[in-house]
């Protein structure tokens, strides 16, 4: 699993990846009440806002950690947004992306680097 400074995670299998927000982000947002998931088929450039996670006190854009095409979105989140709080880095995934440029992964942090980064915040 790889991480961004905007607190997204990427779990890679071949040239496909699940993406979501980190436990740190979910905790900071508080109780998630709504997730705006992306349309399947949408093409994303790295850094594009592709989803919105809302709590009572904040709404946060989720940025694409990698470029590619949305091949699946987690529709379960519509009925159960609290999944993001319960299991942010597993069942709380937001979209599955088919990568267009695997080399972009190199720029992302591994868990140890992300945790170091968190300790600086």
């Amino acid at each position: 699993m790889k991480f961004t400074k905007d607190h997204e995670w990427v779990e890679i299998t071949g040239n496909e990846a699940f993406v979501g927000i980190t436990a740190y982000a979910a905790e900071a947002l508080g109780d998630v009440v709504f997730v705006e998931i992306p349309d399947v088929g949408k093409t994303l450039k790295k850094g594009d806002s592709f989803a919105v996670v809302e709590s009572v006190k904040a709404a946060s854009d989720v940025y694409a950690p990698v470029s590619g095409e949305v091949i699946e979105a987690n529709t379960d989140l519509s009925g159960a947004p609290e999944t993001i709080n319960a299991v942010p880095e597993a069942g709380g995934w937001i979209a599955k992306i088919k990568l267009s440029d695997v080399s972009e992964l190199d720029a992302l942090m591994d868990r140890a680097a992300y945790e170091d980064y968190l300790s600086t915040l």
Partner: protein, 517 residues
């Protein structure tokens, strides 16, 4: 007569509480709390056929509306006594200025004079139609002209657009005038608006709304705009800056004249958020500070009622440079009385359009003018001075108990505290605010401005007496003592005594129920 005879009470009743029973967990049968009645929704009545008006039920032959008539109307009706009960019961669940201090920072919750209400209802003012021939509403146009004169004189600005319906609508009006002015000068490429980090959320929202890119300007350690940072960001791409003065930390921008100079030098306009005008009305004229546009929340500075959240009114004063772009309609005085310029041909052809139907919040103009006439120039100056005095008194009285982020120098009309003093108590700003409810006060503005951690922004206004302030200060000192002494339950469970306990906002937002079904 033997006063101790037990017979004395055999036909009467005990005249003092008899037993020490535990009363805190008592629940009434219907869920109310004595005078605070539990009140159902009007939609929960079984019978929707009642009505509180006596109109005849006539038969009509609506031949021309064949196929257009509805048969699905389902709305509950109340007779007059039922309606009075319903709304009076509901009213008693509200806090209000008329009940107690309502120190919401940035909202200027001052006393609402009842003369304002009476004047707004005068026949010939409250009942006239916006499209009556102008010959039949000369008094209305004269009143708008008079209000305009007061606003222009108090702000030292040459023009005012009166139609915006609220503060945020006024911001929109100001920015659209700025945009139109730039476009007229061939400066339409200016796409950036600079906004300090401490700004009201409406400032960046409005700027982004009309297509500007918002750039933030840093704040200095003493809570003001960082002029060096501003200067470095001003350039040929900047259309305007939006600065609140006095700012949202309750401080006067000492460098405001320099800020205006730099802004104009860069070819940009200075939009001032006038939300805090109450602190300086009658004492400082924004026109003397170099402002190009400023909205005035009539419900703040000029005492029109807040009404549970509106209606407001947000006239915008404009500099000479922006005046030609003001939206229609426009009142002008002529030889034959006042005219209302409503069309592009008649009003300035440079106007940027129309903010709303008709001519603005006349009901609020009447109230605001009544208030201005009552105070006069001298009274309004005293308003600013007393508002500032009250805020500084609160700051001076609480600064040793709570922590102040910007301790040096006076504040203006509101006193800002942060939550450093709560560190280690397990009590948050929110908990502290909720405990104030149990003491009969409305909480202060919390967590705003965003630049101060756990912010508590207290705006007492000039209409509080010293006695009220002293009572408030004593309560806050005592609550602060309780927090520091570890009485966490007082705060975490608060409010205990309000008409409702803390509400589940998460539940409301996850599965929204916005209407009865």
């Amino acid at each position: 007569m033997n006063a101790e005879s037990p017979k004395m009470n055999t036909v009467g009743r005990p005249s003092a509480p008899e037993l020490a029973v535990e009363t805190t967990s008592f629940k009434s049968l219907l869920g109310g709390r004595g005078l605070l009645q539990s009140e159902k929704l009007i939609f929960e009545k079984d019978d929707y056929s009642r009505t509180g008006v006596d109109f005849a039920d006539i038969e009509i032959d609506a031949a021309d509306l064949d196929g257009l008539l509805r048969d699905d109307l389902s709305l509950p009706g109340l007779t007059e006594p039922e309606a009075m009960r319903h709304y009076v019961r509901l009213s008693q669940k509200n806090h209000a200025i008329d009940l107690a201090l309502y120190p919401l920072g940035s909202c200027t919750m001052k006393h609402n004079p009842r003369l304002n209400e009476k004047m707004a209802r005068l026949p010939g003012l409250g009942d006239i139609h916006p499209l009556q021939p102008v010959s039949t509403v000369q008094g209305a146009l004269a009143l708008i002209d008079s209000l305009s004169h007061w606003l222009k004189t108090l702000t030292g600005m040459p023009a005012v657009a009166v139609t915006p319906k609220a503060g945020a609508h006024g911001e929109l009006c100001g920015l659209l005038a700025i945009k139109a002015a730039h476009e007229a000068k061939g400066q339409g490429h200016r796409r950036t608006v600079l906004v300090p980090t401490s700004a009201h959320g409406t400032n960046p929202a409005t700027a982004a709304f009309v297509g500007y890119t918002v750039k933030e300007v840093a704040q200095t350690a003493d809570g003001r705009v960082d002029v060096a940072d501003l200067a470095s960001k001003l350039g040929p791409d900047v259309a305007a800056i939006m600065v609140t003065n006095p700012n949202t930390c309750g401080l006067f921008e000492r460098d405001v004249v320099e800020i205006a100079r730099l802004t104009h030098e860069a070819g940009a306009y200075f939009y001032c958020d006038g939300a805090n005008f109450n602190a300086i009305v009658g004492r400082v004229r924004p026109g003397d500070l170099g402002v190009d546009a400023m909205h005035i929340n009539l419900h703040k500075t000029f005492s029109t009622p807040h009404g549970g959240g509106g209606p407001g009114a947000g006239p915008v004063v404009l500099s000479e440079a922006l005046a030609p772009y003001a939206p229609k309609p426009w009142v002008v005085a002529g030889g034959a009385g006042f005219q209302m310029l409503e069309h592009d041909e008649a009003s300035s052809s440079a106007n940027f359009g129309r903010m709303c139907a008709f001519h603005g919040q006349m009901g609020m103009f009447i109230r605001a003018l009544t208030y201005m006439l009552s105070h006069g120039a001298d009274g309004l100056k005293q308003v600013a001075e007393d508002a500032v005095l009250n805020a500084n008194y609160i700051k001076a009285s609480l600064q040793d108990v709570m922590s102040v982020p910007f301790p040096d120098g006076p504040c203006m009309h509101e006193a800002l505290f942060d939550d450093r003093w709560l560190e280690g108590t397990d009590v948050t700003t929110l908990d502290f605010a909720k405990a104030m409810i149990d003491e009969g006060f409305h909480p202060m503005t919390m967590y705003f401005p965003l630049v101060v951690h756990g912010a508590m922004l207290i705006e007492p206004t000039e209409t509080e007496s010293k006695d009220e302030l002293d009572g408030f200060i004593a309560v806050l000192c005592a609550l602060a003592g309780a927090a520091k002494a570890g009485d966490v339950a007082r705060f975490k469970g608060a409010p205990y005594l309000a008409p409702a306990k803390r509400l589940d906002e998460t539940r409301a937002a996850r599965a929204p129920r916005l209407s009865y079904s």
